[in-house]
Symmetry: C2
Subunit: 456 residues, 2 copies
């Protein structure tokens, strides 16, 4: 989903459809306390503050498990199941949902989960299957078999098939295969047993990572050394394609993995000309457009089936039928060493965010926003001095050991080499403009002396 | 040529083709001292510093006449002819060239001017005609008649025809009509006589404006009150369509009035796929694109015959065949009151430029660049305080009557209501970051107390 999502802020955290991110939508989907318990989020350590902020935005509570390392979905499912089995009941039924998928019909989705939980409680591992509407080559397929006696809508799985070519995909559709959505419902102890049977090392690594997990700033941080021993593989390879407990329930409730911009166009509200314009966008004599432009004014003339995504530092213009080439584009940009391939202009941090707004050969200007209670690390720079002008709120600045308060419309100068720390002791966001002067402005010219967020 | 050119910086000053603006290209075209005298530029008062700066950039000298008011081309030609007749010789041959046109073949163009000057010296008013390559509806046409005895390539003009519809345009092409390029060669006294004959009021108004002109900062400023009496009309209506001295010389030397982005694409160097990419642009599986992107990284996928022009605050995406609708778009943006319709983010001033780089509800950040010797007006603001951080060069700041020098990496605070002036006494550009705080940031909150550039 470049340029809106980049490695530093992946697509599950972007408001792709409507005002909420897919992560927020999924959390809301499981919000009915009659059906669901408090959700458990499992995410990479790097995204912890983003997850916490997004939950706060929608007023949702969740337990947040942090993966100290990227070990793929088998380890994530194993750890989540182990945590649930220990913290709740071993027989707790778990719906394991991808944070970057959508189910458009939330009510029906909750009913499906309830339906699946009956089969799961009886020991089955339920996969949500989706009836294909085109011969997609980007999904795995499921060949459904015999119907269960207790619920004929639930069927055993004859076999899983990897992403096919288009000819085979057409055959699969004729033969009644389903897409594998990659979302599951199972009993924690059943999943753990199956993982133990097929991947005992992953099972023990993740169990140990949960036992030795530490609470930190409200997060549950899985033990690094144990977790690192889990082999990188998907839950499909590790368990689903091998277990005899796999069953499938058709979940035709508007599922999408929002894999490319064309899916965002399909899922977004459209005007009379079939276009979806968002932000500062104007279109003339055009149809079936997706235009997203938050900062610049973007105008489109005389085009059809085109996607335009403009961000402060990068613009994508693509034919809708070729939106799948964005991945190839990003690979090329990475190979060319362009920072826009992976980095956002706005960088989220535990304490708020910063954004570069202007840069010259001997200076850089940043907008810095510190949330109430946020504290940056105590730090120093070898190659730059900084001028801070507070434009909103109040700053508590520690400068070479001395604490000063800087208020709206006041400024402070931080010479090269001084130790300093910025904090927001107030009740509203602190916004300041930082003017850096010097010869080098890389983020690696930060010597962190002390950090409340335990960063290096 | 929106969004690169806007009312505040019209297209003749933008580097549309290659690195130079069309104004700079035209000035270079008449640079051969064997054929041409020092050029005379006639331009609107508002563009005087831009013209001076662009001449300086290419190391060219020129006399600059300033129109104190917009009175259309008859008044401009009249004033230029009157100035040349008075300052040089009445019989001086003048080539009157539009600053926003291009002639691709400069050598042949100079030869044509020499050829035209022979007919002009003999009393003819020579128009450059262009052999049409398509039935354009946006140009006037010329019906060429009898060939002159002394130069059979020069033909009398049977008649001028206004912009036709496409059917008539096709007929014109079959009948050998030419486009009227709107560029002329004439003797100053001949043009003045004809103007006197057909439009005596314009002739006397412009003559008086030249007689009462004043030198100011190296410019020749035409007298406002006299010039304002010249009726607004084009030189075509005023003289060309009525005089019997009009002749035409075919000038097929790569002329274009660069009227829309599709013309820029045609005139620009293209790669193997027929695309012209400029700035930070990438294209995949595309052809015949024009992509211009100086600030953002712009990526195009799977498109053909598309124009993408990205500037810091506005992005245009248009099918090449519909580039003529940009005018309609700009009208709509104006009607909607969008500042991007007319204003640039970078604003040129006599002393340099400023550019807004960030804005919030209670602050605005600008980058200000002051050329060596530049002095802003002595001014004050009712609604904002300013923090200036010098990031390059040295500033001379007058603050409530006291002069201070602020050097690189130093800052100064200007409280609300203080009188202040910024100047660059140094030899290199002064760059500073201005952080404004307050409740209102409009350019009309500048009370000018004194100004070396005589602005109000």
């Amino acid at each position: 989903m470049w340029p809106e999502s980049r490695e530093s802020l992946p697509k599950q955290f972007i408001p792709l459809i409507g005002q909420r991110s897919t992560f927020q939508s999924i959390v809301s989907l499981v919000g009915d306390p009659a059906v669901f318990d408090t959700p458990v989020v499992i995410t990479n350590f790097d995204y912890r503050f983003r997850v916490a902020e997004q939950l706060k935005e929608i007023g949702a509570e969740a337990v947040i498990l942090l993966e100290p390392d990227r070990r793929d979905s088998a380890a994530a499912v194993g750890a989540a199941a182990a945590w649930v089995a220990a913290a709740r009941e071993p027989t707790t039924v778990v719906a394991m949902l991808a944070a970057d998928h959508v189910f458009e019909d939330g009510k029906q989705f909750a009913q499906l989960c309830a339906q699946a939980s009956v089969a799961a409680a009886a020991g089955e591992i339920v996969t949500f299957g989706v009836t294909p509407d085109h011969p997609a080559t980007g999904y795995g397929y499921i060949h459904p078999g015999a119907r269960l006696a207790r619920d004929p809508q639930v069927r055993r799985i004859e076999r899983f098939v990897e992403k096919p070519d288009e000819t085979r995909a057409r055959e699969f559709i004729e033969e009644g295969y389903l897409w594998n959505s990659g979302n599951f419902v199972f009993r924690a102890d059943v999943m753990l047993e199956e993982l133990q049977r097929f991947e005992p090392e992953i099972a023990s690594a993740t169990a140990a990572a949960v036992s030795a997990a530490k609470k930190d700033l409200g997060f549950v941080v899985l033990d690094h050394d144990s977790f690192a021993k889990a082999r990188k593989t998907s839950i499909d390879y590790a368990v689903m394609e091998r277990t005899e407990k796999a069953v499938v329930l058709t979940a035709d409730v508007g599922w999408s993995d929002v894999g490319e911009w064309s899916a965002v166009w399909r899922l977004s509200p459209q005007d009379a000309s079939g276009s979806s314009l968002r932000g500062r966008a104007v279109a003339i004599d055009s149809s079936n457009l997706l235009v997203r432009s938050e900062e610049q004014l973007t105008a489109v003339i005389g085009l059809k089936d085109v996607i335009v995504v403009a961000t402060g530092d990068a613009v994508l213009v693509a034919h809708r039928s070729q939106a799948d080439k964005v991945k190839k584009l990003v690979e090329r940009l990475k190979a060319e060493g362009r920072p826009e391939a992976t980095e956002h202009r706005r960088n989220y941090r535990p304490w708020g965010y910063y954004q570069s707004v202007d840069q010259g050969s001997r200076y850089q200007v940043k907008r810095i926003v510190v949330r109430p209670g946020g504290r940056l690390s105590l730090q120093k720079h070898h190659h730059r001095a900084e001028h801070w002008v507070v434009v909103r709120g109040a700053a508590e600045v520690t400068l070479d050991g001395k604490v000063e308060h800087v208020h709206e419309n006041e400024s402070i100068y931080l010479p090269i080499g001084c130790t300093h720390r910025l904090a927001n002791p107030g009740k509203i966001d602190l916004e300041l403009i930082e003017v850096q002067t010097g010869s080098y402005f890389g983020e690696d010219d930060i010597v962190r002396i002390e950090d409340v967020y335990n960063r290096k």
